[in-house]
Subunit: 327 residues, 2 copies
């Protein structure tokens, strides 16, 4: 069976049992004695997605040896951190739809969404502190520090049409890839891997995370809302510069650049067809895709040191999925 | 020197050095390599208040023996948790002014405020994980879980004119008193106190926290904005029922009750003078003050087991301050 033919269920097969356990641990941790809190939590569980981060953590651990209790707990922790950032992201982005479902903020108000995000972050750290030593708490704490700095940097740069590719990659590395990198680092650490292996796997996860975010940003610009299942075009509406736009600004003539800059500063309303036309002319979607492809291929190269195993095959396949996904 | 004559500086004298160290640890932990993040953090530092929670933690530790490194670190942690909740609270309350200064959300937008709150929560857990064992991480995680449930319960009950006093006390115990209780519990734990002492001190901190919140809620209704230094009357605007209103609803005749209920449901705009008149008629401010006074006096009784010391005198004085404060 080639990677291309693998479904997500095939990819997750080597860790299917542990992924189920992680889901159960997630649900158990956030369960409340208050009915309406559980109802709010149901809203998030409904849009719990592909469990990409827990899968990365578990597959990394599995590729290096046997999975332990800590892996399962941490798989639940990283998903909880991720879902918390989604809930707060939707408040920041004023998004109404995610994974084809109404977001918490749209359904229950911004106040409930802010507090539900806090509830999830708090439970993530609480669950993490149930482990026997501080290693994971420190790693998760350092990671969420970085995630927040990435988000703050992005907010700070809203409407900044001079954002460079390097600055964009720095933001994306913080807000998205730090966590995927940490998933692979924690998966290796609790697989008792040596420091060099942990760092190699962290880089694999980081490159995958950056590629993932680039694809996400491409979809926000040119995806179809039906396929992607969430509110699109928000980046431009909110003055967020992403890789295709940065490339287009650098490569467009002065007239087009002027139009794009006015859009980014919010002086003119975004006209989706017009933006698509510009991006086509500067071949900027292709450029961003090539960048993502380069990152994924570098990431896959890093896996060569791992012994051949179904888990290694799955990690490679996951890297491929990042490029092919349409949502 | 009697308690009444003590200034806050006198009260904090037994722990002045450690409180300074805690402030320094706080600043060091949240310092970023990014200038604009530090500028955002300056906004919060400016309205860092009376350091009530760190003082409770340190005074409890001091009253039971010598202070350790852990006390100082945890004093910074509890203040960071508290400031994070303030920043998110101001988003929830749409408040413009706190401690006489413009709030982060009003100054930099809700997005930056949500993310800055997350940044502080993350750093609080990160700093907490620097300790040698998991005890404090577990305690802080469990406490923030409770704080969030308290806040969620409050949001859930907006506009509910049937909220009972017991339900109100439950909300307040979660959103405010759980943290002050934990301060005293952690202060004792790292003073190597036995379990019974830790629980006694937790109760002291919890009672103080509930009394503090009742006084806060009274000030929101009848304080003067100049004295209190923050946006007032928000509770009623947001349909939040607090102790004086609950008492008034229970004790007013049907006509007045009807008017209050319409206010709480947001059907009529809050008229400050009218509300004051109603609260006077039902003596509800007096009732709430008596409740707070009862809690403070019960809390002070709990301290009798402590050996006589300046720290014990300060804890007693702090309890008194809760009642007398006008902001």
């Amino acid at each position: 069976m080639t990677q291309v033919e693998m479904s997500l269920a095939d990819v997750y097969a080597p860790i299917a049992a542990e992924l189920d356990q992680a889901r159960a641990r997630f649900d158990e941790e956030i369960r409340s004695t208050r009915g309406f809190v559980n109802e709010l939590c149901e809203q998030i569980k409904r849009y719990r997605g592909k469990m990409l981060r827990p899968a990365l953590l578990l597959l990394t651990g599995k590729a290096l040896g046997d999975l332990r209790e800590e892996h399962v707990t941490l798989a639940a922790v990283v998903e909880m951190v991720h879902v918390a950032t989604l809930v707060h992201d939707d408040v920041l982005d004023e998004a109404d739809v995610r994974r084809r479902l109404t977001t918490v903020n749209a359904l229950s108000g911004n106040e409930a969404a802010v507090m539900l995000g806090d509830y999830l972050i708090s439970h993530a750290f609480h669950l993490c502190s149930s482990l026997n030593n501080q290693h994971a708490s420190r790693e998760i704490g350092a990671t969420t520090n970085t995630v927040c700095e990435g988000e703050l940097t992005q907010i700070h740069n809203r409407g900044n049409s001079h954002l460079t590719e390097a600055e964009y990659l720095d933001i994306v590395t913080g807000k998205t890839a730090a966590l995927t990198g940490t998933c692979c680092a924690l998966g290796s650490h609790f697989g008792e891997a040596p420091a060099s292996t942990i760092e190699t796997m962290r880089r694999f996860g980081t490159e995958l995370g950056v590629a993932f975010q680039i694809v996400d940003d491409i979809l926000d610009l040119v995806g179809s809302p039906e396929q992607v299942g969430k509110t699109l075009g928000r980046d431009l509406d909110l003055g967020k510069l992403t890789l295709p736009l940065i490339h287009s600004l650098e490569n467009a003539g002065p007239e087009i650049r002027g139009r794009l800059e006015a859009l980014i500063r919010g002086e003119t309303a975004a006209d989706r067809d017009g933006v698509h036309g510009i991006l086509r002319r500067t071949q900027s979607i292709e450029y961003a895709k090539t960048t993502a492809r380069g990152l994924v291929s570098a990431a896959i190269q890093r896996l060569h040191f791992l012994p051949d195993s179904p888990a290694r095959t799955s990690l490679t396949a996951m890297a491929g999925f990042v490029l092919d996904r349409d949502h």
